[in-house]
Symmetry: C2
Subunit: 246 residues, 2 copies
Amino acid sequence: MNGPAPTSPETSFALRRLISFAPVEADEQVLLQRAAGSARAIPARREILSQGAPIRQPLILIDGWACHAHMLSDGRRQILHVLLPGDVLGMSSHSDPTAPTTIIALSNVLLCPAPAPPVQQAEHGLTEAYARSRAQDEIYLLRHIIRLGRLSAPERIMDWLLEIGERLAFAGLGTPDLFPFPVTQEVIADILGLTSVHVNRTIQSMRREGYLQIKGGTVSILDRERCVRLAEYPQIASAAPTGISR
Amino acid sequence: MNGPAPTSPETSFALRRLISFAPVEADEQVLLQRAAGSARAIPARREILSQGAPIRQPLILIDGWACHAHMLSDGRRQILHVLLPGDVLGMSSHSDPTAPTTIIALSNVLLCPAPAPPVQQAEHGLTEAYARSRAQDEIYLLRHIIRLGRLSAPERIMDWLLEIGERLAFAGLGTPDLFPFPVTQEVIADILGLTSVHVNRTIQSMRREGYLQIKGGTVSILDRERCVRLAEYPQIASAAPTGISR
DNA sequence: CGACAAGTTGATGTTACTCAAAAGTGGTGG
DNA sequence: CCACCACTTTTGAGTAACATCAACTTGTCG
């Protein structure tokens, strides 16, 4: 549905993102390619990792969407973090790591083991790429806290959509203004701490006012300027003018 | 105000927490003690690290409370994470790290440089302690997302207080049911994504119903059983019965 | 075509926010 | 000891945002 040849291109997309974090040596790239070749498929809704379980080995998401999720005893669900192609799951820097949360597939996904860097040399290659990927994930977590704590429903939705668009574009899957979007409004609600009904009404209102369009599993940002303003979305690679003097 | 000799004991409290994460060799403990001895004081409200600035060197919080905070342009503030004695700031595993958020002192604090482990041996000593401390911080971030996304105001406040009590007790500062508490209701509001007025009313209601007491900079959990139930607080070191079959 | 999931709509309820002011608290200097 | 200040907590009344409940409609896939 989303391109000419659906078999091998996704692989390189996912790896492209990871490689962009740091200069990865040719031999390491081969390791990645080989790992990606052995990726296994997991159907939507299936649990990938369960909370508290020991992590056998870190994984790379090659295709599809997944998420960290937490259920409360009365059925409320909060999705903590969305995982997109190229994201690394379960990478930890200490011994005997256990999964801090349950990870489930949001769509059909392809997963492969994350190859260990051949040389454990810091500040270079794959080691550095993994470290930066993890640091970036932490930034997304922090931004998510801001969203949930201080943004209104329209702001939350817009801010999150802009982030997803940016992340997907980073992996070569669409552009920041037009990207594939395989999740239901119920999932959006569980990510953003809202109800699906409220998500629906809010999206409709944004659609009516010409901000964006969501149709057929695709998001189009129609007026990026206004969208960014609505969400106070932090500009990519801009000087941070956060200086609050005295 | 909080004990007989206010000069040196805090130092060992903070280090106790860090050391508890992994067996730290005697020589490494000496490094920590020496670093703590050179701690410098920073007054409340002062900025410790600003967003986007390069991190010169990781720090250990020896005494007092600090936090990661983010301001929106219209004055809204979200506190992302609270830092307590023994917490490590700005520890990163990749090269040229920059501060993902601004860190400010919530009270007067003592800070010292985090000594680099003498032997860069994974799975042992200080390296492992730092790694586990960071992993634990990530778990607190995830829990915070659940709080903000899916818990009501009373649940948020209770859940957060229980977490703070546990963390302080872990560092030897009070017990999980009785601990020092140097922050205003306005700060609580900015942590929990509420307004200070609503925090006030909610705390009063919990006080009236016998859950807890907050007075004179001290929190007392009066009925832990009921508090834990109110917040669905995850039990420490309990088997995780999260198995959702099929 | 039928069944099931997803999206949409309406009516109503509740939680939490806003604005504004009063009352309490602690520190400082005369 | 008191007066004063700034800050924090508390209270009240009105409002806005979001949730809830319950249909109904649309779309998709076998």
